[in-house]
């Protein structure tokens, strides 16, 4: 392998795998995005792709009428954010989140899940 080839390989691989941070995106959630559960969950847990800044990351859960059903301030640990829920009757619930990754990029999103009868 020639020297320019080695340099290019090293550069691109380094760029791709060693950069410290990026935008934090929702990797998956519990309950799962768009899912229907037969039993009411006691909390919503969001798993992100990057570490979060706790002071600037939040999540809210509301019912079909827009009323809050979460128990307030979420707990943030590394890439995970969780918030407790009040007892949920059957219905559709919307989760809205906004997070700041440790490199100060903000991302946001929302999704629904259903609790079946």
């Amino acid at each position: 392998m020639r020297i320019p080839t080695l340099v290019a390989t090293a550069l691109f691989t380094f760029i791709a795998i060693s950069a410290a941070n990026a935008h934090a995106f929702l990797d998956h959630a519990e309950p799962r995005v768009g899912s229907t559960t037969s039993t009411a969950p006691k909390e919503v847990v969001l798993f992100f792709s990057q570490n979060l800044e706790a002071a600037f990351s939040t999540v809210q859960v509301s019912d079909a009428s827009g009323a809050r059903v979460d128990q307030g301030k979420p707990k943030v640990s590394a890439t995970t954010m969780r918030v407790g829920l009040k007892p949920l009757p059957p219905g559709t619930y919307r989760v809205r989140w906004q997070v700041l990754s440790t490199d100060t990029h903000t991302t946001e999103g929302n999704f629904t899940f259903q609790v079946g009868p």
Binding site: M1, R2, P4, T5, A8, T9, L11, F12, T13, I15, A16, I17, A19, A20, N21, A22, H23, A24, F25, L26, D27, H28, A29, R32, V33, G34, S35, S49, Q50, E53, F56, T58, Q60, R96, Q98, L100, D103, T104, H105, T106, T107, E108, G109, N110, F111, T112
Partner: protein, 318 residues
């Protein structure tokens, strides 16, 4: 670019894919991410770099020549909403009789200003001025001109995530587009003995975001690789509109179906290029691009605007 280097880029790309985490980056409007498109431009100012973009096609000549285009562009935000892009391309043209012509196109700069980002409606609007600087490329080879081209351009992007939930997976669709009016600084080309037309330069993309489907609509438990894909179809067209005496006002361009893989710090795009008519080319070409998100790779240095850095923490809005 040598075959060795292309080989290397592909190898590095695959190595990187294997080791990077699951994140996405770059032109964000609310929950929507609009990737950098290959044949048109996305509707955001950004710190980014395309290195390289490689295209291969056959010209409309009879018999057709084989054309290879290599290009690079580098975009830098000057302020939060104002950015500049510099671009340079190199072309190799092999005629059917084996004659080879190679050279650089004119140096290009694009000045862009972000007019609107409506997070709730996933709508972005961007204005731009593209300047193709005359006599900065290989004019002798025919790939560059002695005159400049100035193209005021309007760009837009719209995601459909604001539709009611009943639209289901349709909400993962988004469209982007651009319309520009290209004005040459000279009206007559004495070397070609032809008028130089003013042209409408326009294009659009329709894209379906698997990342958006997974994180906003429904997590189907698909393989991770699939969840990073954005299938896309682009259209890129040019229509002469004035000062085209003696020539047909024929629209030329390509329709490009393809796919973009979106990672944490870069994306890789691959599209076919299908000419819309005989005047636009012969057969199906191909275009590929490695695109780097500089604001994610270097968030505290070159990934920042030169003035009024964006890294101050944003107030939570709900």
């Amino acid at each position: 670019m040598s075959r060795h280097l292309l080989h290397t880029l592909a190898l590095a790309g695959f190595t990187a894919v294997a080791f990077t985490s699951d994140a996405f980056a770059h032109c964000f409007v609310g929950a929507r991410f609009l990737p950098a498109t290959l044949a048109t431009d996305d509707p955001c100012v950004a710190d980014e770099m395309s290195l390289p973009t490689v295209a291969w096609s056959k010209t409309a000549d009879v018999p057709p020549a084989s054309q290879l285009d290599l290009s690079f562009d580098f975009s830098k935000r000057i302020t939060e909403n104002f950015g500049v892009t510099i671009s340079q391309g190199w072309t190799s043209l092999r005629q059917a009789d084996g004659t080879l012509t190679q050279g650089f196109g004119n140096f290009e700069t694009t000045f862009q200003y972000q007019i609107l980002k409506d997070r709730e409606h996933e709508l972005a609007i961007l204005s731009g001025l593209i300047v193709d600087w005359g006599h900065t490329g290989s004019t002798g080879s025919g790939f560059a001109t002695d005159f400049s081209l100035v193209t005021p351009t309007l760009y837009f992007g719209k995601g459909f995530g604001d539709l009611p939930s009943s639209f289901g997976g349709f909400r993962a669709f988004a469209v982007t587009g651009q319309v520009g009016y290209q004005i040459p600084t000279s009206s007559f080309d004495f070397t070609q003995n032809a008028f130089i037309p003013q042209q409408l330069v326009y294009g659009a993309s329709l894209q379906y975001s698997m990342p958006y489907l997974k994180s906003e609509i429904i997590d189907l438990g698909l393989p991770d690789f699939i969840n990073h894909l954005i299938p896309i179809i682009e259209v890129s067209l040019t229509t002469p509109v004035s000062n085209n005496f003696g020539n047909p006002y024929t629209t030329t361009g390509t329709v490009n179906p393809g796919v973009i893989w979106v990672g944490s710090y870069f994306q890789v795009g691959l599209e076919a290029m299908v000419p819309i008519n005989r005047q636009s080319g012969t057969g199906v070409g191909v275009i590929g691009q490695l695109h780097l998100y500089l604001d994610d790779m270097f968030p505290s240095t070159i990934g920042q605007p030169l003035f009024g850095g964006t890294s101050s923490t944003r107030k939570l809005t709900f």
